[in-house]
Symmetry: D2
Subunit: 139 residues, 4 copies
């Protein structure tokens, strides 16, 4: 990882303590940086009704949207207490595809510091887009 | 509304412009204040796959969780471009019940400045809790 | 409970075994009847990414929609392995409000056979509707 | 497509009329077959609160789970009124990864009869699993 990626990793690792996961006891955190250098972080937020759970990646992306979608997301990093670099779930991949360009880098890490690199396109190939929904609604 | 509530209203109203709602063209914003006086705001964030949409109330509450759940939520206000004070959806009521005490006030407003007051308990009476899930899982 | 409600209770109780809940170990089932006497049942269906979980009530209602929304839902019953009649989560209350009339009865039960009766309106008072979204989008 | 796949296509195409999509006016349907030859179908089911929307693929898979998870899913087909074979959203890919083997075939079609074939693994590579969550929770 380069210096900026290392910074995201350390921020995300520190943020693990803020996860709200009383049901799974599973802590996940995320950090993203925009091309303007702004950083947004996120943790997983569970609910007694499991379906209302929000993952760390989405919390970070929603924080950026909520701040006015300044700049463009350049890189997103995820960390989990997993035995291999943590995988983002499909729901988060869908939210990535809405707000991040296909070639944007996503770095998956674990608490040992192992990591894997993917692009958004690799994580969710042939993805569903706004254009599909418009085509469909006009028929 | 008292002075603090007016402040939440103005902050939420200004925040409407940050909503990401290209599918519904419906803008919603929210603002909450903790008993320590910290304020967190939120907007609705849609997705081409509608099921991945996050409402304004949840964005505000998740922002507070993501900041370390400092203090206790004292009041949450919602505003929408509706003809009557906007109603929070059931998913947001569930998230309120996870993070806000039953007697916490929720103020529903619209762009005309009309408003209604509810408590969390009034919005989601007899709600599902962590205790229910523990009882059930132990059987 | 009347004879029809007893029938829903027994069907839902039997259906508990079909729940897919390897993460919470919490089994919930539901049964609804239309005014034409058709019965649809549902169980909770979890996911390793908790946010993709579908509750029993929604599974039953979606089964009815998926069968062509024949008739009108007359009554919906829920059962869980809880110490008190199980409470539907806010997400399910929202889906009830989309497909069931405000005065429709919802019967909450537990494995001891205790029960509580609510109407949809009592479970989700002052609910968000299609009209709200149309008002908002037209502004 | 082979004869069985053609059958799924025709069933799904007919089922498009049952979609409940008053908000997007976008109809999607799905059909799956188990190795025992049982067929389950699904449509998209929207909600005035967009986040409670259930896609067609999930409705079909949930129908199969709700029927007791008999057999193993052999193939799932999706159809939408799109200009290219419709893409499943990330949330549905996640649910596929929970209930379908990585090598299971998913056929994406449109109303012109064009189609694309993917495996579950191709749609959601390096996916999040039950094992990840167990590893994480034990730390």
């Amino acid at each position: 990882m380069n210096e900026l990626e290392e910074k995201l990793f350390l921020l995300a690792k520190d943020h693990l303590a803020d996860a709200y996961s009383p049901y799974s006891h599973f802590h996940v955190a995320s950090a993203l940086v925009t091309d303007a250098g702004e950083i947004f972080t996120g943790v997983n937020i569970e609910n007694s009704s499991f379906g209302l759970t929000n993952c760390a990646e989405r919390t970070a992306i929603f924080s950026w949207v909520n701040a006015g979608r300044t700049g463009k997301i350049k890189c997103l990093l995820i960390i989990g207490n997993t035995d291999r670099p943590i995988s983002p779930c499909g729901a988060c991949r869908q939210v990535m595809s809405e707000f991040m360009a296909p070639e944007t880098e996503v770095i998956l890490t674990d608490s040992q510091g192992d990591y894997e690199r993917f692009t958004v396109e690799q994580l969710i190939p042939y993805h569903f887009t706004e254009k599909d929904i418009q085509d469909g609604a006009n028929k």
